[in-house]
């Protein structure tokens, strides 16, 4: 059966047809659709875990119990899960354990573009890298076999372009019937990592890598595609596709297993070509490994370390290295650079907008883009931020975020600023899913160490930015069933915060009052701002319109940053196809002229 599947869908089908029985993940672009796809299969347990560390630990437990298990996350998710990941390397597995790690070259939707193959070198586990959806599907079965044969976690490293590109897949296999009993064979020296056991396991890990290197020498995942001798290209992942187009006649060594390296295969290939280059995305992982073997090779001297590759980028590099002579692209049209940009914005009806408008007003931050700094209006509020849609509040006109580092960092950062002696008000802003992911422990720290910061939890009832996944606060499981709902206010009160307010995300009066009193409070205060994500709201209310007769172009409504509010022919205008209407009305509430009304013309 041939189907058009994204890399992520193909990985999910691959795991399913390899007999995986447990799947765990925390959403993160570009990995999210792997678990979303698996959750639609009915004879496999799939969960959104609270965070990647928990996902890895649940996966580890499941594989110890003897079943094939898949855990997926984005590249920075592995930073969170690094501790159990390293532990998994040492203990090895019982049922097969495959980690899918989705890197984001080009930083399409991440805080960094780290190359996670380094983690595999650190943990001494093998890495497979698919080059398209078909390989993604096929590699999952091989990954599980390797995992069980060599007693190791296997990392499958995908990237945004592989995960999110659709290509043709022949779903040639089918799901096997469950084999073997589920059971945990007690084995203290393997599963209890007391120092005495860990010392005993380490040599086994080193032996495993030697055996895996031997396996990589003959695996069909590493293949030579013979061409002309003058140029030999070693490549992996999506870079293979770009290199194939740029060097159609060259000889290729395409590596599907990129750690450990097949050294003899590489030496033989190097001996057959006049010039050897490595084309790889992000770090010179293969290149340095090959150079360390004493083989003469180049790569990152003409292929960028930074950003996503493309046929254009590889072509330009090849010209600069003297491998190609023709300019790869026609000269650009300069006028394009002057076109207005279209930075992403919070959506019309976004439940985050109101609170950010309040904080931005209180902190004297509201201003149009590129209007320069006004020293008379110095902000008297620091807003530490976190990871989610709400990070977009950083942009004008709201300008309502001062830091974003990693999941859950806002609260600890705010506390640190306070303890450093900053005397202005400090607000930490974090979303519901991010709070549950890693905001609870820093909140405990703030309680214990008697912080006086204000923490705003923006609760839109979903994991919005990655495309609306469930989480412990939604009361619904990854597979769409009813689950136990973790109430945010109970968590916050439970860890010892006494000043807790829950406010309506679309009631400007309530938001202002809550922010004022929390900032004035001499103790740690938490405001939970509750309102459903507008993208998930099926019923749109009556849209708002601007009464041109009453509007005096004060433009306060434009400072909300709502994409529905536009100016046409010098008049403010609301695009009624974008406006969500009754559920929001923030523009109507902030308009000093009362010029914004429901479309039927009725005012309050």
């Amino acid at each position: 059966m041939k189907r058009l599947l994204s890399g992520n869908e193909a990985l999910a089908w691959g795991a399913y047809h390899a007999g995986a029985r447990v799947a765990t993940a925390y959403p993160g672009t570009p990995s999210t659709e792997i678990l979303e796809t698996i959750a639609r299969f009915d004879d496999i347990y799939a969960e959104w875990s609270t965070n990647e560390k928990v996902a890895m630990e649940v996966a580890l437990g499941a594989c110890y119990a003897g079943v094939r298990t898949i855990v997926s996350m984005k590249h920075v998710g592995l930073n969170v899960a690094a501790d159990p990941f390293m532990a998994a390397s040492i203990t090895g597995v019982n049922g097969g354990l495959v980690l899918i790690c989705a890197d984001d070259p080009g930083t399409h939707s991440s805080q960094s573009e780290q190359d996670n193959r380094h983690y595999a070198r650190l943990a001494k586990v093998p890495v497979l890298e698919p080059s398209d959806s078909q390989e993604a599907y096929d590699m999952m079965a091989i990954a599980f076999d390797i995992s069980e044969q060599f007693d190791t976690l296997v990392m499958v490293r995908t990237t945004t372009r592989i995960s999110h590109s659709k290509s043709v897949v022949d779903l040639s296999r089918s799901r096997p019937a469950p084999t073997g009993e589920v059971g945990f064979p007690r084995n203290v020296s393997k599963y209890v990592m007391l120092p005495v056991n860990a010392r005993f396991r380490h040599p086994l890990v080193e032996e495993r890598m030697v055996k895996l290197a031997g396996f990589a020498e003959t695996s069909p995942l590493n293949r030579v595609e013979s061409g002309e001798r003058n140029l030999g290209v070693i490549t992996s992942g999506v870079a293979y596709q770009y290199a194939r187009e740029v060097f159609p006649d060259a000889s290729f060594l395409k590596l599907g297993i990129t750690h450990p390296l097949p050294r003899e295969l590489i030496r033989r290939f190097a001996g057959q070509v006049d010039r050897l280059v490595v084309i790889e995305e992000l770090d010179p992982f293969l290149e340095e490994g090959i150079r360390a073997m004493g083989v003469e090779v180049t790569g990152k001297d003409f292929i960028p370390l930074v950003g996503e590759l493309s046929t254009d980028v590889v072509g330009k590099g090849a010209v600069s290295a003297g491998i190609l002579t023709e300019p790869p692209v026609p000269p650009g049209i300069t006028a394009v650079a002057d076109l207005p940009k279209r930075p992403p914005l919070l959506c019309p009806g976004c439940p985050h907008t109101g609170m950010f408008f309040v904080l931005a007003s209180m902190g004297q931050r509201l201003k149009p883009p590129d209007s320069g700094d006004n020293p008379a209006k110095k902000s008297n509020l620091i807003i530490t931020g976190d990871i989610g849609c709400y990070t977009l509040a950083t942009y004008p006109p709201l300008n309502a975020m001062d830091t974003t580092a990693c999941m859950g960092a806002s609260i600890g950062q705010a506390l640190g600023m306070e303890k450093a002696g900053i005397d202005t008000n400090i607000v930490a802003v974090i979303g519901d899913s991010t709070f549950l992911h890693s905001g609870i422990t820093p909140l405990v720290d703030a309680v214990y160490n008697e912080g006086k910061i204000t923490v705003v939890i923006l609760d839109n009832g979903t994991t919005a930015m990655t495309g609306h996944q469930e989480h412990p606060g939604t009361g619904v499981s990854a597979q769409g069933n009813k689950a136990t709902k973790v109430e945010l206010e109970n968590v916050v009160r439970g860890v010892g915060v006494s000043d807790v307010r829950v406010v309506d995300a679309f009631n400007m009066k309530e938001l202002r009052a809550a922010a004022r009193s929390a900032l004035a409070s001499p103790e740690l205060a938490v405001i939970i701002v509750r309102g459903a994500c507008a993208v998930g709201v099926p019923q749109r209310g009556e849209p708002r319109v601007v009464d041109a007769g009453k509007c005096n172009r004060c433009d306060v409504c434009l400072l909300i940053g709502c994409p529905a509010i536009q100016t046409v022919d010098d008049k403010v205008y609301i695009d009624t196809t974008l406006c969500v209407g009754d559920i929001c009305t923030i523009c109507q509430q902030v308009c000093p002229q009362k010029a914004i009304t429901p479309v039927t013309g009725e005012t309050e």
Binding site: S167, V168, R244, S310, T311, R342
Partner: protein, 198 residues
């Protein structure tokens, strides 16, 4: 080597990803190799969105090279101009004659390019530039959200697939209650491009 390299551009929320999915599925059903990839920012809505669709007997890179796009299907005028460096000389550009001003334009900080400017940028690459009244037509039809299928109808005029193949993919991808109005939008688009592309 390639039969068709296509760019679908627009603003998040206009339905361009569904449109490029349907194009890709129609090409697969017609027996071609297909790769399709979307480049979008972190926002769910309102940012620039581009889909690369490559249809050939064997496709390697999912991303199209600059200067090699055969057909540009643009749902919004500014987004049409933004990606013109990807067009090959003589490419076909089908542009929905509709403006969605970015925030900086609304705030009066930047200026939305005039029709002459958009046309001027595109004409440096090709003289096959067709403006279609997609938003106006589908609004009159009664469902502004069928714009993407209207644009598919426009594209179908240049694509090597039969009308029945398009209808089959539409019926597979769209909920049955919305199928008829989308088929109507498809026909409207097909007719309109036929009228402007003589």
């Amino acid at each position: 080597m390639n039969v068709l390299d296509l760019f679908v551009t627009g603003v998040g929320g206009q339905g361009n990803i569904l449109a490029s999915d349907i194009i890709s599925e129609t090409a697969l059903a017609a027996g071609y190799d297909v790769k399709k990839t979307d480049t979008l920012g972190m926002a769910q809505r309102n940012g620039s969105v581009i889909s690369h669709v490559r249809i050939a007997h064997r496709v390697y890179s999912p991303l199209i090279k600059q200067g090699e796009v055969d057909i540009l299907l643009a749902f919004e005028k500014l987004e049409a101009a933004r990606w013109c460096n990807y067009l090959r000389p003589g490419a076909v550009a089908i542009i929905n004659n509709h403006i969605l001003p970015p925030l900086a334009v609304n705030l009066g900080v930047e200026k939305y390019p005039g029709d002459k400017e958009v046309h001027g940028i595109l004409s440096q690459r090709t003289d096959q530039v067709y403006f279609v009244e997609g938003t106006t037509s589908v609004t009159a039809l009664g469902n502004a959200r069928t714009l993407n299928i209207f644009m598919l109808g426009c594209f179908s005029h240049f694509a090597p697939f039969e009308v029945d193949a398009w209808k089959e993919s539409l019926s597979q991808r769209l909920p049955s209650r919305l199928l008829q109005i989308n088929l109507d939008a498809f026909e409207l688009g097909r007719k309109e491009i036929h009228d402007v592309h003589v």
